[in-house]
Symmetry: C2
Subunit: 368 residues, 2 copies
Amino acid sequence: MAKQEKKETAGELDGRKLKILHAIIRNYLESGEPVGSRTISKYTDLNLSSATIRNEMSDLEELGYIVQPHTSAGRIPTDKAYRLYVDTMMEEKDREISDLKGMLTQAEEKMDQMLKNVARVLAVNTNYATMVTAPAIRGNKLKFIQISKVDDTQILATIVVEGNVIRNNMIAIEDPLSDETILKLNILLNTHLTGMSLDDINLGMITLLKEQSGIHSKIVGEILDAVAQAIRGDEDLEVYTSGTTNILKYPELADNQKAGALISTFEEKQALARIASESLEGNENNGIQVYIGDEAPIESMKDCSVVTATYELGEGMRGSIAIVGPKRMDYDKVVGTLKTMKDELETMYKKKNKSGKSGSPKDKRGDN
Amino acid sequence: MAKQEKKETAGELDGRKLKILHAIIRNYLESGEPVGSRTISKYTDLNLSSATIRNEMSDLEELGYIVQPHTSAGRIPTDKAYRLYVDTMMEEKDREISDLKGMLTQAEEKMDQMLKNVARVLAVNTNYATMVTAPAIRGNKLKFIQISKVDDTQILATIVVEGNVIRNNMIAIEDPLSDETILKLNILLNTHLTGMSLDDINLGMITLLKEQSGIHSKIVGEILDAVAQAIRGDEDLEVYTSGTTNILKYPELADNQKAGALISTFEEKQALARIASESLEGNENNGIQVYIGDEAPIESMKDCSVVTATYELGEGMRGSIAIVGPKRMDYDKVVGTLKTMKDELETMYKKKNKSGKSGSPKDKRGDN
DNA sequence: GTTAGCACTCCAAATAAATGAGTGCTAACA
DNA sequence: TGTTAGCACTCATTTATTTGGAGTGCTAAC
């Protein structure tokens, strides 16, 4: 007669077990301490005695949702529980991130300055470690090439890609080029290459260009290399981090050994790019993704959770934002904050671009 | 009759005291533990009993060279002792840094990549935290300006400064410019500005240019702003760090509180620029400078020592390298390593520049 | 099915005891 | 007068011991 409420939300858990598990997780998120039956019995509105809770907890343990760090300690959630939690039990919540907006909108600096700022603001706000990657440019088109003579031994190739990413390449030359030659090369390159994406520039095009450039085919070759690189966007994307030391605030991570490895990871930044690009692949939930423990592709983060969001600035320029904290991070808040940040970035970009066209003061941008 | 050996090296210390102090420091550098009289009596070749040493140590303590962390503990050197040590007692020593050279020479990447590498190599090699700043360009001359039209709403100003630092600035325009106008502007700017340093471009020159550019004076104004910035070199110099977590290896720094602050300092990088620019000022000992404890201009480093070196790549492009570790860092080794690194960098730059002229494959360089 | 009660476990914190490195001082020695 | 041995004392560190309490599992009663 008591099976009325069997919701079967997770296949193997009835409603009460779910509620209890939920309570355990919430509690552990806050306290970071193993949580016992008594606590749950008082905390929740289930009106169950600690003994009953104990029975249920025993079941939950058998099902692999919670474990005891040692006999006669409270229970802590497993990765499986966290996964269930973020998948099904998290409700949306909007928080006070008003100051966040404020801090951002006054940042009309260069792109990299702004992204650094984003990382910083997020770190301060969440008390976790954060990481932001600059928008990677993919499948973009060449907008414009300019060859200029710097002196007798080198020329400068300036390449502008859609989205106003600029790249400069110094090219050493053996013999001086005349202004005329440079003009010709400019015309040659621009007429053939403008508007092309990386896929459009095939071998035929390349040989054609080299032929037409005559004795300067070597230089053209080098310029094409540079173009390829510029369009592809620096393979190793730029990564900005902040709040790394927040890690030390969580005892379960602060143990010298692990903490060192983690902080190193943040310092090296290379590994972080892996997470970034992985998160750029998937694009399910609003671009928000959660990696719990081993799910993250980085060894040193196996005791952490990582929440990533991707933002898109139009024209295929996509970057990612990630927050790294202990498994018991406040998923609700983090997801909320990330969403806001993502929106904020995207709308800001739109606004900026509009005002730029209608003649606002400056729209400077360094290269990638 | 016993005053024969009175060398008076440091004004208030006789030879024996010096030797003892020396021994104390050396020992403490290695062990990190307070060192007692007995250790010294055995360690050194002075053939003095521990009791005698105790007497001398008592004197040294009174003179402020050593202290006891607590009663009945051994002594540890004070900042004063370290200062004496680096000033007078350090002998030159060349170490095995051969691999260092190897690791560097294969780095013919872009400048920033290389500097990152320098930081990394140093960190791995010394086990301290390191920091490298990119060469700041000062008092440099404008080599070349190029204005190009990107589309109807914006133009691109590419500015090359001596030393091949390149800077791009997008400038929004209200009405499209004809190719002719752009050509005129290019000629106008290059004829007047090429070869000028910041000081040379005075108000007269500016108004002259604006007049001659007619209705486009506003654009010229913006370009001049960009030029000013490019020549001055980004005020906040680029800073690369590595090995931050090495800090955790030294117990006296690893205390969560301090370590966090220190690592944060390294992460923020802003404060580090202060040290860098301070070290760029002085130029005494081969460009090597040692800051002990409070001597460094950064609060969070009051328990550290900082050794800085400056390197110069010709044409006034100077950068700095710094190593941060505990006060008991191995000064000898650090100074040696820094010297080598400095030399290595400077010779590499020379070589690179030479080979560049004689037509070597590629000499790419990003902007600042 | 739920709950109270009880015995049992085991971590964590507190307390106590043992250790030992190091000092300062005094008195003897060369 | 400088050097040294010896001794009593201090105090951080280590180790052992005790205690408290949070938590569990089980059983019996409701």
